[in-house]
Amino acid sequence: MQTSALLGTTAGIAGCLGEGDDTLTVGYVLPFTGVYSLLGDSIVNGFEMYVDEQGGEIDGQEVEFVSRDTEADTDTGVSVARELLVEAGADVLVGPVSSAVAIAMMQTVENESSAIWLNANAGDYRVVQDGCLPYHFRTSFNDWQTSAPLAPWVYENVADNIVLTYADYAFGQNSRDFFAEAFEEAGGEVVDEVTVPLGTDDFSPYMGDIEGSGADAVYSFFAGSDAVNYITQFHEFGLDEEMVQTGSGFLLDEDSLPAQGNAAVGKYSLLHYASNHERTQEFVESYREEHDETPNVYACQGYDSAQAFELAVTEGGTDPDAMVEALRGAEIDSPRGDFSFHPETNDPVQDMYVREVVEGEDGPENEIVETLETVEPPTWGCSLD
C-alpha cells in the first residue's frame, strides 16, 4: 500500500503542474492503515478495476489517482479532503469509510464547491440528514437500508419476538433503532437488547443474556472481527439450537464468512450485495482474476463509484455543478442490482437481498432468499430536488 500511495502522490503533483490539462484527478479519502484498511483497499480495487476496463480512460481522458490516508480519523479526514480539493485539484472525492469522517468533511466540500463527492461507504443517515449537500452522492448504502427492510421479513418468516444485539457505536445504535421501529410497526415485539462494546474479542459474557431473553430470534449489528467473534461464539454456546440469527449483511459478509465457517450456516442477513447474484457474476469473475479473492461489498461500492464518475464526466465535464446535474436521479448499471440516486437525497435507491448462509462447495456462502426490490429509503428532511 505504501508504494501505491507514493505513486499516487507523484501522480497528484504531476496533475497539479499541468494546468488546463485534459486529465481527470480522482482523490481517494480512504483509510489505508489500521483496521479499516481492508475497506479502503477494496474500494480502490473496485474503482480502478472499472477504470482499467475502460482502457484507463474516462470519456477519452486519462485518469490520475491521488491517495491520502484518512487513518479513519476525523481531523485527518478533513485535512486530507481539503488537500485533495485545493492542492491536488481533484475532480472527485472518493470515500470515506467512516461516517464520522464523512460528517466532518462536509463543510470543507461545501466551502470549496470544486468537485463532486462519491461517498463509497460511510452509511450513517445523518450524513444526509445533517448535510443534505448537493455534491454528496452515496454510492454505497445508508444504515436504514441494511436494517429496517429486514424487520417485516423477519416478522413474517422467522419470529414475532426478537432480542437485539449490537456493537455500541453510532452504526450499531442506528441499526438497532431502525430495526426495532420497523419490527414493532410490523406487529412484532422486541423483548430485550444486549449492548456490546465495539471491538470485543470475548462475547461469551453476553451469551447468557441473549439466551436468557427467551426470544425466538436475534437481530444483530456487528462487523469485521466483532462479527467473526460473535457468530463463532454464538454457535459455540449452542444458541443456534434455541434461536434464529438475523442481522445486517455486514454480520455475514464475504470477508467474515471464511473465518466464521460452519458457525455461519443457517443465519439470515440483509445487504445490497450478494456475490452469487446472477447479475454480479461478471464482476466477481474479473475481480477474482485480478485479486484472487471474492469481491466484497466495498469493492462493488468502489466499482460503482467509478461508474458514477464516468457518467458525471461524460455528461457534465469537470464543472462540479454540471456533474451534479448529470448524476441527480441517475441510474447506474451496478453489478449489485438495480441502482439509482434518490433525487431528494442523492442516497441510493437499490435492491436489497435477504440472504441465508448455506454450505457451498468452497465453504459457506450467501444464498439469496428474497429480493426486496428498489426499497425506497426515508429522506430525513433533505430535499435537494
Binding site: L38, P205, V228, T232
Partner: protein, 289 residues
C-alpha cells in the same frame, strides 16, 4: 441469576488463565531483564498467525499448538539477541521505544502477508460442541482452554518455585550482578527467558485464535490488559501475575454481567485501588531494589 454467576465465574477463570499465559512472560522479562516489552502482544499475534499457517498446511490444530510456540520462540531469540541485547544497561526508555517499534513493524508485516481480513484457526473436531456444567451450557473447547492453561501455568509455577533452573531465574531477577559473578552466563539466561515468554504468548495466541478471530489489531488489545496485570501483581512477580490475571479475568466477566460499557473502568479502578493501597502491587518487592 445463579446461572449467570456460574457462567461468568467459569468464563472469568478461563480468561484469567489465558491472560496469565501472556502476563507471565511479560513479568518474567521485566523482572529479569528490566525490559518493558511492548512487542509482547505482537508475539501473541504472531503465534496466532503462525498457528493459522501450520493448521492450514498440516491440517492439525495440535501441531499448530506445538509448533507455533517453537517458531515464535526462535523469532523471540532473534529479537533478544539482535535488538534488545545491545541496549541493556541503558535507560529503559530505549527498550520501550524499540519494542513499540517492533510491535508496529509486526503489525505491518502481518497485514502485508495475510491481509486485514479476520481469520480463525479451526478448532479440533474432538472439542466441538458444548456440554452442561451444572445449569450452564459451556463450549467444550473453552473448557479445554481452561484446563490446558491451568495445567501449563501450574507446571511453570512449580518449576519456578522448585527446579534449579527456576531458582536460577529467580536469582537472576533478584540480583543479576551476583549471579553473573558466580560464573553463570546471564546473557544466555536472558535469551532463554525471552524465548520462554515469547513461546507462552504464542501458545495463548493459538489457543484463543480458535475461538476468537485472528486479526492484525489483536496484539494491541491484549497488551494493555497484560500490563495492567503485571502492574497489579507487582512488577516482575510471577506469582503476582497469576493472581492478578485471575482477578482481571473475573472483573471482566462480572463486569460484562453488570455494565458492559464500564468494564474498562472497573479494570483501571482496580489497578488504581491496588496501587494506592500497595504501591508495589500485590506481590511487588520494592524493598529488594
Amino acid at each position: 441469576m445463579l446461572e449467570s454467576l456460574l457462567r461468568a465465574t467459569l468464563l472469568g477463570l478461563q480468561l484469567g488463565v489465558t491472560l496469565a499465559l501472556i502476563a507471565a512472560g511479560l513479568t518474567l522479562i521485566f523482572g529479569m531483564m528490566d525490559v518493558i516489552n511492548f512487542a509482547h502482544g505482537a508475539l501473541y499475534m504472531l503465534g496466532a498467525y503462525i498457528g493459522l499457517v501450520i493448521a492450514d498446511l498440516l491440517g492439525s490444530f495440535w501441531l499448530a499448538l506445538l509448533l507455533a510456540p517453537l517458531v515464535v520462540g526462535v523469532i523471540g531469540a532473534g529479537i533478544e539477541i539482535f535488538s534488545l541485547r545491545p541496549l541493556y544497561g541503558r535507560n529503559p526508555l530505549y527498550h520501550i521505544l524499540l519494542t513499540f517499534g517492533l510491535a508496529i513493524m509486526a503489525q505491518g508485516i502481518i497485514v502485508e502477508i495475510w491481509g486485514a481480513r479476520s481469520r480463525r484457526i479451526p478448532a479440533p473436531e474432538l472439542l466441538s460442541g458444548s456440554v452442561s456444567v451444572g445449569p450452564v451450557t459451556y463450549p467444550v473447547y473453552w473448557l479445554f482452554v481452561l484446563a490446558f492453561s491451568t495445567i501449563l501455568i501450574g507446571t511453570i509455577w512449580i518449576a519456578i518455585e522448585r527446579s534449579d533452573l527456576g531458582i536460577l531465574m529467580r536469582a537472576s531477577a533478584h540480583d543479576t550482578e551476583m549471579v553473573d559473578a558466580l560464573g553463570v552466563d546471564v546473557k544466555k539466561v536472558f535469551t532463554a527467558v525471552f524465548v520462554f515468554g515469547a513461546a507462552l504468548a504464542a501458545i495463548a495466541g493459538v489457543l484463543l485464535g480458535a475461538s476468537r478471530s485472528v486479526h492484525p489489531g489483536m496484539g494491541f488489545g491484549v497488551i494493555i490488559e497484560a500490563f495492567v496485570i503485571v502492574v497489579i501483581g507487582g512488577l516482575g512477580s510471577f506469582k503476582g501475575a497469576i493472581y492478578a490475571a485471575l482477578l482481571i479475568g473475573l472483573v471482566i466477566a462480572y463486569g460484562a454481567l453488570i455494565a458492559p460499557a464500564l468494564t474498562d473502568l472497573f479494570i483501571f479502578t482496580l489497578m488504581a485501588a491496588v496501587l494506592i493501597i500497595k504501591p508495589s502491587g500485590l506481590f511487588g518487592a520494592t524493598e529488594a531494589a
